[in-house]
Amino acid sequence: MVTDNSAPGRSGSWLEGLSRVRDGRLGTFPRHYRLGALAGALSALLLVNWLLYAGASRGLYPDAALVPLLTLANCALVLLFILGATRLIDREYKGRLQNATDLSEAMSLLSAVSDNTADPIFVSSREGLLVFANPAALEMLGKPREEAMHRPLRELFSAVGDVSQSGAEDSRVMQENISVTVEHSVELPQGVRTYATTKSPWLGPNGKVLGVINISTDISRRKEAEDTLRARESRLEETISRRTATLRRLADHLETVREEEKRAIARELHDDMGASLTSLSMHMEGAYPLLPSDAQWTERKAKIQNLLRSLVMTTRRIQTELRPTMLDLFGIKAAIHELTDDFKQSTNIACEVNLPDEDVAIGHKLEITVYRMLQEMLNNVVKHAQATQVDVILDVDEDQVALTVRDNGVGIPPERRDVPGTYGLRGLQERAAFLGGTVSITPGRSGGTVVSVRLPLTNDHVNPVSL
């Protein structure tokens, strides 16, 4: 991992001090200052000598006194110069002494800091050679100082199994004058350690880049914690997805059991109650002519007939609701026709059905699923859509079966479309998800809603439920 640090590195100031010591420039006077002092001294000598000559020529003192006066004045001046120079030298010496003390203190402080820090600090030159390394850095490189110094960093890191230090990052740091952080691991005898190393340019006093300063932090523990956390997260996700799958399988199992029970009850209703009612009706037909023909019995006969008719209708309705016989006998196409016919009759909503021309063979399980989904979708239209027209489209190709119900109703507001359970679509989505399919809810082109269910025809991932 590489991170760019926003501020360019300035942490090389103490190293700048080091470089000044190396250049021998600390505490020296500037050249122009020394030349000025010399010129001043010579000018003062000339001025004093000229003034003494001028005094002699004007007869202020006898000529014989000129030489001793000149000698005296010059000697005094030279003495003054020597005194001044001595003071200057003394001051410079003291300054130098102070600087050397300061530097030594700074150096000892720095070396104490760098020696005692657990964070590896190391510096490489422009050529990529190691020019400084604190003990922690040497430990990271697994080499004593004498073996590591002035060796290429790339080689040193390769020796501890870290091939990520190709030097590319160092070049970037030096060229772009930026600071970056990289994550890298080294293999040490005590184990693999991971470090986050911040690389900053080492700038000389004139702003020239002299190399790269690296400060590393051992993030092995953090890394381990992160890895543990990640592993725990993935285990958790795995558990959740496994449990979700189990729940879906359970839901599917319950659905299948429910369907089977409903089918059994429907069958019993047909075979037992239906047959009994039919035979009762037939018997009654034979008995009606035997009834007395007075008004009372005529009325009774009508009542008996009405009762029987209502009983038969209820039985048939319950039977169809429990299990669409049409589906078992003639498949999904006929069942959809029957369902939409009933829908039209009971709701007065126009319903257009568009089915494949060829026979649809998608297996009993998918057939009942598609049928129940269509029932649910049509129920939703009645409950929520306020539609006057519904289109039901069934498409079957090699891979999937697609059932679309399009209405011209009020539509679903976008903010409610993705809310689970909205529009009574939760069950649809769950069922479709278990079968590896999808449910999409979109607004119709000219208003209303389009609900589309896609189910794959091969459900290899559907396993029998294990309870």
């Binding site: 047909h270 037909e285 006929a334």
Partner: protein, 163 residues
């Protein structure tokens, strides 16, 4: 499969699965009578109802109930053994179903002249449409329209199927 006597008797000796139809030798006068009587076959899986139907059909003169099949395959076997004039069938059967039977028959010219009548408790428009597609001429609600079927059969037995 239940095989019937030429007249409408009970079901006591009708359950011989190996026997396709009643042997001709049992009643020598049968062929002649069959020439006249309307040959009817019933496909119905409920005993209570088939008993009632056969009982009621017995009252119709010049009508012979050839046999009662309870499943689709029984019905096919029975029809292959002996064609009939009128086939009365239910839609939902213990095995197979009436519409499949009709589908098979519709592809066989032998049964083109057989009058197919559906007598069922599945009476929705979709069933009626499908039955019509497969050449069903009459469709009766089993519970409420049996008297109409009786009337139709009486008429047919009187006038013959061409009449």
């Amino acid at each position: 499969m239940r095989l019937l006597d030429h007249e409408h008797t009970g079901r006591a000796h009708q359950l011989d699965a190996g026997l396709r139809m009643r042997p001709e030798s049992v009643d020598a006068s049968l062929p002649a009578r069959r020439q006249l009587a309307l040959q009817v076959m019933l496909v119905e899986d409920s005993h209570i109802i088939s008993d009632l139907i056969s009982e009621n059909l017995a009252r119709i003169p010049k009508l012979t109930l050839l046999g009662i099949a309870e499943t689709e395959s029984e019905a096919l076997t029975m029809l292959h053994a002996q064609p009939c004039d009128v086939l009365i069938l239910d839609i939902q059967l213990r095995q197979g179903n009436g519409i499949n039977l009709l589908r098979v028959l519709s592809g066989d010219a032998t049964y083109a002249n057989t009058i197919k009548i559906v007598l069922s408790n599945h009476v929705s428009g979709t069933y009626r449409r499908i039955c019509e597609q497969y050449g069903v001429q009459f469709f009766f609600d089993k519970t409420s329209e049996f008297p109409q079927l009786q009337l139709l059969l009486s008429r047919l037995s009187e006038s013959g199927i061409d009449g």
